[in-house]
Amino acid sequence: MNPVNYLYLAALLFTIGATGVLIRRNAIVVFMCIELMLNACNLALVAFSRMHGNLDGQIIAFFTMVVAAAEVVVGLAIIVSLFRSRHSASVDDASLMKL
């Protein structure tokens, strides 16, 4: 199968993730959409790696997984602490600071 198709899939997943970040309200769902974007990046990197025949892209994909895991640790800690103080994980409710 032509690896270019995987690039189209990666672009599609990235767009779905970015759209989700913009339209969803629950912080956890927004965060999951960001993870989807990172995984779309991984797919693109691996597809390019295959097309170029070198391993750089696959190495970056490994690093991205580690970064995504670290981001989950930090992000969930922050979101959970927000949820515990407000009893809501909605990003629209967090609006103490406005112009």
Binding site: D56, L96, M97
Partner: protein, 537 residues
């Protein structure tokens, strides 16, 4: 390339260990970063093994020693000629050791050191039950207003984890402007961003605002770094490599030997343009340029003030360093494409930051918008695309970072009964109550405004001169106009401090409406009957 060729790569990688050459690591050239990372790891261990009472001094000692030693290492490298005559590529091409990188690393380390002192300041908050406390939460995991938090405050806990977090952030920032391939760039971006997200959530007072700032910063920051990563993937697809030098060669069309397998993707301009735009977008987010600035005021206002000062200074230095390297090393061949875009970004950043700052009533938000305007001024120097553009931007960053940390440090000093008094009305008449504090802040504001004889003037003159020589004359006109607008609100704060009557404390002024209750005091919902809390002791 065929499938078997790719699989042959795997088998090559699985060769006996003896056949794989060990990478050559130049420990001496990497020593500033290694020292800071090592100290951060030691800091984590201190949290694990040292008793609570001794942690603060142990952490402070380790952090100060590490930052000073790393700065000494930077100076030694610069004295060794890396800043002027020779330049090195360390860690198998991942890190550049050259003049701009060393200058920025030195600036970040000094900013980190000053930031560290503001982190460690313990004489401002009233002592809680015999223990001196700093501006960080007693126990970050406890719910604001809960019994757990009260117990933690009563026990005099402090969050000494901020010191290793600061060191990790500094380490990432040291690598960021020196990164010489896209993978290192991305990892450094995350290494300094993640501790900053956490530190934003750790304020001792106004904890709901602090947590809100952290969530906003985290979600938007992660969103922006996902864009950066997709841009990296596209540039990798375009060039077949993540090394800055190789990508620049492919952009210029001067690759010595073109791999026929890459003919499909290499030279596909759509990949190049979209990828470069996404990477630059991620960096512009970090510097807070206008279409990507939405996080700046909220995060600057909500984060603990020492963190705001450190973040405002050091992040900007690191991110502009990386932006310079991307634009000048990787994409000089694309100059005619990125310059018009950056023109637009610089103009809206300068004007937007300066105009919106006029309407602000909170000193931290005002400084946030002022930092946006300054990002625009620095971008004007970046656009010059000349050697004088580089040096002027570096000078501006050095001068600006110290003024910023100083200004936020003064903000931590102005207090009332509820902690820091950030509303501008509380600053009225500060010059009579505390002439020294007001005078110092006035000097910082004049430096921000770029009044002659201050560092701000020299910096602005340098970037505008470079921009004018680089053919961006109209940009300089916009810059001067927005400097004038910015000077208005800086001077307004000075007038407020020195020439207006201080509001009497404790009495309500019948003409002005009473201030709204601070929102962080929102009560938790009352427990349902029958499930009352523990009886009072």
């Amino acid at each position: 390339m065929s499938a078997s060729a790719v699989h042959s790569l795997w088998t090559t990688a699985a060769d006996p260990i003896s056949k794989i050459g060990a990478p050559k690591i130049e420990y001496g050239q990497l020593s500033p970063t290694l020292i800071v990372v090592g100290a951060a790891v030691v800091g984590v261990l201190i949290e694990a093994v040292v008793p609570r009472k001794a942690r603060y001094y142990a952490q402070l000692f380790v952090s100060v020693v590490a930052l000073v030693a790393a700065f000494a290492a930077v100076v030694a490298l610069a004295a060794g000629g890396y800043a002027t005559t020779k330049s090195g590529i360390a860690a198998m091409g991942a890190i550049a050791v050259d003049g701009p990188a060393l200058f920025l690393q030195g600036t970040i380390l000094l900013a980190g050191l000053v930031g560290l002192f503001t982190f460690a300041e313990r004489r401002l908050d009233p002592a809680a039950h015999g223990n001196r406390v700093d501006s960080f939460a007693a126990q970050a995991a406890s719910v604001p207003g809960s019994d757990g938090e009260k117990a933690a405050v009563k026990a005099g806990f402090t969050t000494t984890e901020v010191f290793p977090l600061l060191l990790f952030a500094v380490a990432g920032m040291l690598i960021f402007p020196a990164a010489n391939d896209l993978l290192t760039l991305f990892i450094a971006l995350e290494v300094f961003s993640l501790p900053l997200y956490l530190m934003c959530a750790l304020a001792r007072r106004k904890r709901l605002m602090s947590q809100e700032a952290a969530v906003k910063y985290f979600l938007l920051g992660a969103f922006a770094s996902a864009f950066t990563l997709f841009g990296i993937a596209l540039l990798y697809g375009y060039a077949g490599s993540v090394s800055y030098a190789t990508i620049a060669q492919v952009v210029d069309g001067t690759v010595p030997d073109v791999n026929p397998a890459l003919a499909d993707t290499m030279g596909n301009d759509a990949l190049l343009l979209i990828g470069a735009a996404m990477i630059v977008m991620g960096l512009l987010f970090k510097v807070g340029a206008v279409p990507f600035h939405m996080w700046t005021p909220d995060v600057y206002q909500g984060a603990p003030t020492p963190v705001t000062g450190f973040m405002a200074a050091a992040t900007k230095v690191a991110a502009f360093g990386a932006l310079l390297r991307i634009l000048y090393v990787v994409l000089p061949g694309l100059r005619w494409d990125w310059r018009p875009v950056m023109w637009g970004v610089a103009i809206v950043t300068m004007l937007g930051g300066a105009i919106v700052a006029i309407t602000q009533t909170d000193i931290k938000r005002l400084l946030a918008y002022s930092s946006i305007a300054h990002a625009g001024f620095i971008l004007a120097g970046v656009i010059a695309a000349t050697p004088s553009g580089v040096s002027s931007v570096l000078f501006y960053l050095g001068a600006y970072s110290f003024v910023t940390i100083g200004a936020f440090a003064v903000v931590t000093l102005v207090r009332d009964a509820g902690g820091e008094a950030t509303h501008l009305s509380k600053w009225a008449g500060l010059g009579r109550r505390s002439p020294l504090v007001a005078a110092v802040f006035a000097v910082f504001l004049l430096a921000f405004a770029g009044i002659p004889l201050t560092s701000g003037f020299a910096g602005k003159f340098a970037v505008f001169k470079a921009a004018a020589e680089g053919g961006a004359g109209p940009l300089v006109v916009v810059g001067v106009v927005s400097s004038a607008i910015a000077a208005f609100f800086y001077i307004r704060v000075i007038v407020l401090m020195f020439f207006s009557e201080p509001k009497p404390e404790g009495t309500t002024n019948p003409r002005s409406p009473p201030p709204p209750p601070p929102p962080q005091k929102r009560r938790r919902p009352a427990p349902p009957p029958g499930k009352a809390g523990p009886p009072p002791l």
